[in-house]
Each structure stands twice: as structure tokens, then as C-alpha cells.
């Protein structure tokens, strides 16, 4: 039986939630409203919650000053490939660690998890050297390969393993009796049931790739190869100062698809994380 919350307690709880919302909602509100303010109004004190006047030209300038469409496409296709690649690698690796008995499975899994403890700032220089030798600097290859086989994929593997561990063994045994081999059991039984976990892996992998900043600024040097987070820093005036309103207009356009994806898929995201025993 669910405990009943008194109306008074409800009001207090909702009030508290509204207060807690401010630090999450205000930056987004400020970004969107400032993108249509004249630059002089952005830092006005007291801050204006609503613009006094609207300057929509900032949005057209976003496309004039940078190859923004191309950069948008770069971010989108890289994030898509990374997401699909990570889903494939992490689901197979997670299933193997959860279900297949092989020597030193737990030790190997611990070693794989240790990869999460190494910050990307530590590995970025050796990675740069490797990709330089492979002739892949100033291409999108590092931005695809590093996340698929690096820390984001390790985290995704952990999430998938935790899910597969909870899957009843009898389902797989029934499938074995029904005539399925190991790979078909994975594809026909385990994977379809892992949809919530896969959805959360897809969402946070997509977000991670979409927001990737360090790797693009290290590996990419041509504006037409830039991804969005890197492109945002390029909206500067002749003296190198940021053109805030245009930058915020670009940031709004950058954040838009992520926001939409999150709003649509937030249920799966939360369910998926619930399966891992982790919280946000």
C-alpha cells in the first residue's frame, strides 16, 4: 500500500521542487532569451527575464559566420555512428560478461572497468600520437573510435551487464531447449528484453558524443570538420571576444535536438538507469 501524502505536505514538496528547478531551468531560459537580445542587454543588471527588444538576426548570423549546417551534420552523423557502435559493442560485451563462463571473466571485467578511472586528459596525448601515426588527425575517425572503444563504451558495457545479470536464466534455458544457439539467444531473447537498458545507453552515449569537446579541439583543425561544441567557441569578434548573442543562438540550436530526444525518451532513460543500480 502506498503511503498517503497529506495536502499540506504536497504543497511543501512541490514548493521545494520548484526551488530546486531554478538552477536547472534558469541557465536554459537565460540561453534562449539572451540569444535574441542585443549584446548590450545580456549582462544588464538587474538581469532581464524577458528581452526588451528582439533581435532575430543572431540566428541568421550563426549560419553566415561558420559552416554551421556542415558542423551540425558532423555532430549528428558522428553521434549516430558512435551511438549505434556503442550499442553493438556494449550489448555484446555486457552479455558476455554476464552470461558466458570464461576464465578470469570477473578479473577481466574489473580491468575493463578500471578504464573509467583514467581521465581523458591523461590519454589524449598518447591517443593523438597514435592517430597522428595512423594519418587520422583532422578526420572524424578519432571521434568515432575513441568513444566506441573507450570510457563511454565501458560505462555502457557496465550498464548492459547489470541488466543481463538480472535476466532470468530459465529464459535462456528455455531457448536452448527450443533449439537456439548462444548468438541467437542473445539476438532473439536477451537483446529484445534489454530494450530499456539499450535505450538509456543510446541516450547517454548520444549526449556524450554530441557534447564532446576535448577530443574535437585536439584532433580537428579545419572549420568544415568541426563539431558543434567546438564550433560554438568560434563565434568571436575581430579582437577574439565572444559574440555572446550569436554564440547563445548557436548554443540554443545545438541544445534543441538533445532536449527533444531527452523529453521523448526520459522514461526509458530513467528505467535503464534503474536497472544498473546507479542514479543519475
Amino acid at each position: 500500500m502506498k503511503a498517503e501524502i497529506s495536502p499540506r505536505m504536497k504543497v511543501i514538496l512541490y514548493g521545494l521542487m520548484c526551488v530546486l528547478l531554478i538552477p536547472f531551468v534558469f541557465p536554459t531560459w537565460w540561453m534562449v532569451t539572451s540569444s535574441v537580445k542585443p549584446i548590450s542587454d545580456i549582462f544588464a543588471f538587474p538581469p532581464q527575464l524577458l528581452p526588451q527588444s528582439y533581435d532575430w538576426t543572431t540566428y541568421s548570423k550563426v549560419f553566415e559566420l561558420q559552416p554551421f549546417v556542415k558542423q551540425y551534420w558532423n555532430s549528428a552523423y558522428i553521434a549516430a555512428i558512435v551511438t549505434i557502435g556503442t550499442m553493438i559493442v556494449s550489448s555484446m560485451a555486457g552479455y558476455a560478461f554476464a552470461r558466458i563462463k570464461f576464465p578470469f571473466a570477473n578479473t577481466i571485467f574489473m580491468i575493463v572497468l578500471l578504464g573509467l578511472l583514467i581521465p581523458s586528459e591523461v590519454t589524449i596525448v598518447p591517443l593523438f600520437q597514435m592517430f597522428l601515426k595512423a594519418g587520422m588527425v583532422n578526420t572524424h575517425w578519432p571521434l568515432v573510435l575513441v568513444p566506441i572503444f573507450g570510457a563511454p563504451s565501458v560505462f555502457a558495457t557496465f550498464v548492459m551487464r547489470q541488466f543481463f545479470v538480472t535476466l532470468p536464466v530459465e529464459l535462456e534455458e528455455a531457448a536452448r531447449v527450443d533449439g537456439l544457439g548462444r548468438f541467437k539467444i542473445f539476438r532473439k531473447i536477451a537483446l529484445p528484453l534489454a530494450r530499456p537498458a539499450l535505450a538509456s545507453v543510446a541516450i547517454f552515449t548520444f549526449l556524450h558524443s554530441w557534447n564532446l569537446y576535448l577530443e574535437p579541439i585536439v584532433f580537428l583543425s579545419s572549420a568544415d570538420k568541426f563539431t558543434l561544441p567546438q564550433a560554438l567557441t568560434q563565434y568571436t569578434d575581430a579582437y577574439g571576444g565572444p559574440m555572446w548573442n550569436i554564440q547563445l543562438a548557436a548554443a540554443t540550436l545545438t541544445a534543441l535536438p538533445v532536449l527533444i530526444v531527452f523529453i521523448i525518451a526520459q522514461k526509458q532513460f530513467v528505467e535503464g538507469l534503474a536497472h544498473t543500480g546507479l542514479k543519475g
Binding site: 532470468p168 530459465e170 529464459l171 534455458e173 528455455a174 531457448a175 536452448r176 531447449v177 527450443d178 533449439g179 537456439l180 541467437k184 531473447i189 529484445p192 528484453l193
Partner: protein, 350 residues
């Protein structure tokens, strides 16, 4: 349909022996129940027949073919699991036809087989539902449907009724038995419930600590248990046991009380266990004096729990006798139903 033979089948996990060389012959079309307390190895033995567990030693034959190293799919068996193991993302029809789909059966034939099984099990109206939309009994039927649709040589059931409530369990028990009588497929059924074993089996295999204690027809096990364990396990409430010795054609309890023995029992220096079932005791002028501690009238019979010294004795009377708690009654055994066991080996003497 096929016979199943187990020859010296062993299972060990490292140094730990789980099954100590089981020998068992199951005839074509027979309904065999493996029964025993939790941890006796009955489910392990069933899983070894299914191919879900490897065997450490011995041979398993299905239809005369050694299947020791064959995958479950190549053994031509179907299994019903304790928690049903229905695929949650598939409808009832897809669940039932899934195995046929993976054996290259045509869609028309799958549909025909699924319809046939659904008609038998009363699932025709539920074919488009998902397992989460079904009750426990319906899920159980789908699990059976999934098994019969393939027409395998052997059915294996692993405690399929243990998740159901008491009423549904009785109903499903009858349905499984009826299904077996209709299909005549060799069936191996695991349960820890001896009533289920007695009512369903053609042959019962009683297991204890990884050993096969006795194999026989239900009433044979009830009437002639081979040892104290089987005597205590088969029958509800359990058989009463009294320790003592045989002297001058009578059984002498440790406290000196004497009970009659069937004719022809020779004196022995060995210590003996005297076993008598609760339903084979009657109130009599002479016999064993008991102090009544609990009286449980059920209408059709009266169960009395009483004490003789420190020993608890259970009696079941068909007559409506209602002694008061604390009252002393005297009971005598039906001599034709008395069982004697060696105290040292636990084996049957009579």
C-alpha cells in the same frame, strides 16, 4: 515417444558430489515423478536429462541413443520450467510456435500445431495476449502448450505447479495427468510434494542426498517402503516411528511397553524401528497409551496428535472420535500394515 535410461549417472561440482550414480529406467510413455526434499538432486537429475547440466559420469540414453554430449535442442525433449520461462516480449502464439520456427517448420504448419495445442489446453482465446496479461494458471498452460506443440519424445517438468495456489494446483495436476493420458508421451516430472507424486505418477523415484532411495509404483512405495526415509517421506501425515527391539514375538519399546507384531517375525538382537502410519492406528482396549495434545477434526476424519512419553504420535481416525486434550487414549496398529526397519541401516526388515 521414447524410453529413457540412466546408467550410473553422476554429477559433481569440484569435490562436491551431487548425484552419486543414479540408475533408472523409464519406459516409453511412462509418467515418472522424481520426488524428494529440497537439495536432494532431483532438479539436477532432470536438468541432466534435458542437457542443461553436464554429467560427470555414466550414460543417459533417450530412445536408445546416448545423449551425454548432445545439446538440449538435439535431444528431442521439451521442458516446462518452475517459473514458466515464457518469453515476455512474445505473444502466446509466438511463444508456442517459437521452437518450430527455429526448426524450419513452415508457417502454415506452425499455425496448425499452435491451434491444435491451444485447443487442447483451452488457450484459443488467449493467443494474441502477452504473458504479463495472463494469470498464473494460464501461463502454466502456455508453458505446457509450448512443450506439446513440438511433439517431443520426452516431456520434462521442473516443479511446474509450485508457483500456483492450492486450488489451482489441484486443477492443473489433473490437467497435466489428462494431457499425459491423451498424448502418451514419456514424462519426467520433478516435485517436492509427495501428494503430487502419489496422484500423478505411474512410477515414483524417491531421492535423498543425491541417492535414489527407491523406485516403484505409488502404492508400492506406500505399502512397502524400502527404508525409513521413504517410509517417512511418502504419506501425509508421516509414518510414526518407535524405537525398540523384538522379543518373544512382540515389539518392546525402550520404555518397556509392548506392541504386537505380525506373525512370523523372528527375534533379533538388532535394534529395530517400528513404523505405523497414522491411518493404520485404531482406538482399542489394549495397545499403546497416548496423551492427546491436539485434536483436529476435518469432518471426513479426525487427526489427533498425541504423546507417548517424549515421542509424538499422529493418528487419523475415520470415525468421529473427539477425545479431549489431556485425555489418555489407547491405540493399536493394524498388524498387516506394520513396517519394521533396522535401526542401524534404516533398511526394511519385514
Amino acid at each position: 515417444m521414447a524410453d529413457v535410461t540412466l546408467s550410473r549417472v553422476r554429477k559433481s561440482y569440484g569435490a562436491l558430489d551431487i548425484i552419486h550414480g543414479a540408475d533408472l529406467g523409464i519406459r516409453d510413455g511412462e509418467f515418472v515423478v522424481l520426488v524428494g526434499p529440497s537439495g536432494c538432486g532431483k532438479s539436477t537429475l532432470l536438468r541432466m536429462i534435458a542437457g542443461l547440466e553436464t554429467i560427470t559420469g555414466g550414460d543417459i540414453r533417450i530412445g536408445g541413443r546416448v545423449v551425454n554430449d548432445l545439446d538440449p535442442k538435439d535431444r528431442d525433449i521439451a521442458m516446462v520450467f518452475q517459473n514458466y520461462a515464457l518469453y515476455p516480449h512474445m505473444t502466446v502464439a509466438t511463444n508456442m510456435g517459437f521452437s518450430l520456427e527455429h526448426r524450419g517448420t513452415s508457417k502454415a504448419e506452425i499455425a496448425g500445431r499452435v491451434k491444435w495445442a491451444a485447443d487442447i489446453l483451452g488457450l484459443s482465446q488467449l493467443l494474441d495476449r502477452y504473458p504479463r496479461q495472463l494469470s498464473g494458471g494460464q501461463r502454466q498452460r502456455v508453458a505446457m502448450g509450448r512443450a506439446i506443440v513440438r511433439n517431443p519424445q520426452v516431456f520434462l517438468f521442473d516443479e511446474p505447479l509450485s508457483n500456483l495456489d492450492a486450488k489451482l494446483r489441484v486443477q492443473m495436476r489433473a490437467e497435466i495427468k489428462e494431457l499425459h493420458q491423451r498424448l502418451k508421451t514419456t514424462t519426467v516430472y520433478v516435485t517436492h510434494d509427495q501428494v503430487e507424486a502419489m496422484t500423478m505418477a505411474d512410477k515414483i523415484v524417491v531421492m535423498h542426498d543425491g541417492y535414489v532411495e527407491q523406485v516403484g509404483a505409488p502404492l508400492e512405495l506406500y505399502d512397502y517402503p524400502a527404508n525409513v526415509f521413504v517410509a517417512g517421506f511418502i504419506g501425509s501425515p508421516s509414518m510414526n516411528f518407535l524405537n525398540g527391539r523384538v522379543e518373544a514375538g512382540r515389539f518392546v519399546l525402550e520404555d518397556g511397553h509392548k506392541l504386537p507384531l505380525p506373525a512370523g517375525v523372528a527375534d533379533t538382537s538388532e535394534k529395530v524401528i517400528y513404523g505405523v502410519r497414522p491411518e493404520h492406528l485404531t482406538i482399542s482396549a489394549e495397545g499403546l497409551p497416548l496423551t492427546v495434545t491436539v485434536v483436529e477434526p476435518t469432518g471426513s476424519e479426525t487427526q489427533i496428535i498425541a504423546r507417548h512419553g517424549a515421542q509424538t504420535i499422529v493418528c487419523i481416525f475415520r470415525d468421529r472420535v473427539l477425545p479431549k486434550v489431556g485425555e489418555t487414549i489407547t491405540v493399536a496398529p493394524d498388524l498387516s500394515r506394520v513396517h519394521l526397519f533396522s535401526e542401524s541401516t534404516g533398511r526394511r526388515l519385514s
